[in-house]
């Protein structure tokens, strides 16, 4: 019998807000699914679209990108730059057929431990329903199979 599908979700978060929010969720003993792998970065402005592609390349079923609310950035405007970049990159992903349900963006402050726990729960459920990202995994599989001439 095969094991039930457990989605792999990579979260790119900024250290000042969402990471602290996740920390608050932990210290508040809030429960959220363990499917998330957090990558802590200095700022959402540091999150290159390449990170999202890399996560997919390494077999992620979903990606979350999260940082400070507008106006709260530790570096004053890193998240404004990030927001523009995401708008454009998200449109590109949509146009090339990567389902937007798998790539999500949020603002979570250091005080929003509850929001963090709820978001991770709902995100995990959504991606569990979607199932593994088979189309992308087929491409990954192609790179791993030996070439037959």
């Amino acid at each position: 019998m095969s094991e039930p599908f457990e989605p792999k979700i990579v979260a790119f978060v900024c250290t000042y807000c969402t990471y602290a929010g996740a920390d608050l969720a932990g210290t508040s003993r809030l429960k959220y699914p363990p499917n998330i792998r957090m990558v802590r970065l200095p700022c959402t402005g540091r999150i290159s679209p390449m990170f999202i592609l890399k996560a997919l390349q390494k077999g992620a079923d979903g990606v979350l990108v999260s940082g400070c609310h507008p106006g709260d950035c530790h570096f004053t405007h890193g998240n404004y730059h990030a927001r523009r970049r995401w708008t454009v990159f998200r449109a590109l992903l949509n146009f090339t057929g990567i389902p937007l349900e798998r790539i999500r963006f949020s603002w979570i402050s250091a005080a929003e431990g509850v929001k963090f726990a709820e978001l991770i729960s709902s995100l995990t459920e959504d991606i569990r329903k979607l199932g593994p990202f088979d189309q992308y995994k087929a491409m990954i599989h192609e790179t791993e199979t030996p070439v037959s001439l």
Binding site: M50, Y80, V88, L119, T143
Partner: protein, 276 residues
């Protein structure tokens, strides 16, 4: 005097008077219906220039050739409106000084040559404004809408099939005036962001990165489309991204040489409907 003769005369005058040190234009190509870049430094060579509807390449990429502008002397260049927009972007991104560029503008309307007046980037700003208002080629728009009407799975399959043809020759990068990085992200191997093998995964990533880096910068000259040896509809994806920055940020690339690059600037009230 034909339009071509007028242009040859103007080029000869620019060189003879010493206003420009070199003219970048079009010369005869390998077949009668093709043109290739021609670089002339003497007024005598102006007769080698061709100006006609077959001049489709965007020559502005040659302006960022290493050392060309470093002596502060002026350079003359034949440009279509897209090329003039490219020069604006290169200037806005601090790659060149627009005062060093003498633009010899021309346009091709419905397959025939039309002369453009002016020589500095600012002389063409009203022309570029009208381009912003009238941007649409119905035939491509229909295909974009067809793709957008598909389910994500179908779209993915469509692009997977297209990108699987890619041989990673990077002709699209080589021909693009906006791809001037000394070291491209795909040439980096530490970290290696993009798979360099010819598998579809790496092709997919490369084409996504290329399209993203051209978002809000592409002027739709169609160079990549013409250069692609396996006919991937690169222009389609660039066009969709241009539409996105226009809709979301009212940004039309290459409006002026002082226009802020769209992904290096922001407004506090930029749309953010998708952020939870």
């Amino acid at each position: 005097m034909s339009i071509q003769e007028q242009y040859r005369k103007r080029a000869a005058e620019l060189l003879a008077s010493g206003e420009v040190k070199i003219i970048i234009g079009y010369g005869a190509g390998s077949t009668p219906d093709r043109r290739r870049a021609l670089f002339i430094r003497s007024a005598d060579d102006a007769s080698l220039l061709h100006v006609d509807a077959a001049c489709d390449a965007n020559l502005s990429g040659y302006l960022v050739s290493e050392g060309l502008l470093s002596d502060r002397k002026k350079v003359g260049i034949f440009l279509r409106p897209e090329g003039i927009r490219s020069v604006n972007i290169l200037a806005a991104e601090s790659q060149l000084d627009p005062l060093q560029i003498v633009i010899i503008g021309f346009n091709v309307e419905n397959g025939s040559l039309a002369a453009l007046q002016g020589s500095g980037v600012n002389d063409f700003s009203s022309l570029i404004s009208t381009l912003k208002e009238s941007r649409s080629t119905p035939e491509e728009q229909a295909l974009i809408e067809k793709i957008e009407g598909m389910t994500p799975e179908e779209r993915f399959a469509f692009w997977q099939a297209e990108f699987s043809k890619c041989i990673k020759c990077y002709a699209c990068r080589q021909v693009c005036p906006m791809c001037y990085c000394k070291r491209c992200i795909v040439d980096n191997n530490q970290p290696q962001w993009v798979h360099t093998s010819s598998h579809t995964l790496g092709n997919f990533e490369w084409n996504l990165v290329r399209a993203f880096h051209l978002s809000g910068r592409c002027v739709e000259c169609g160079g990549c489309d013409r250069a692609c040896p396996v006919n991937i509809p690169l222009r389609l994806i660039n066009r969709r991204m241009a539409q996105e920055v226009l809709d979301a940020f009212d940004h039309f690339s290459g409006m002026s040489h002082t226009q802020e690059p769209v992904l290096a600037s922001f407004k506090k009230d930029d749309p953010e409907t998708f952020i939870l």
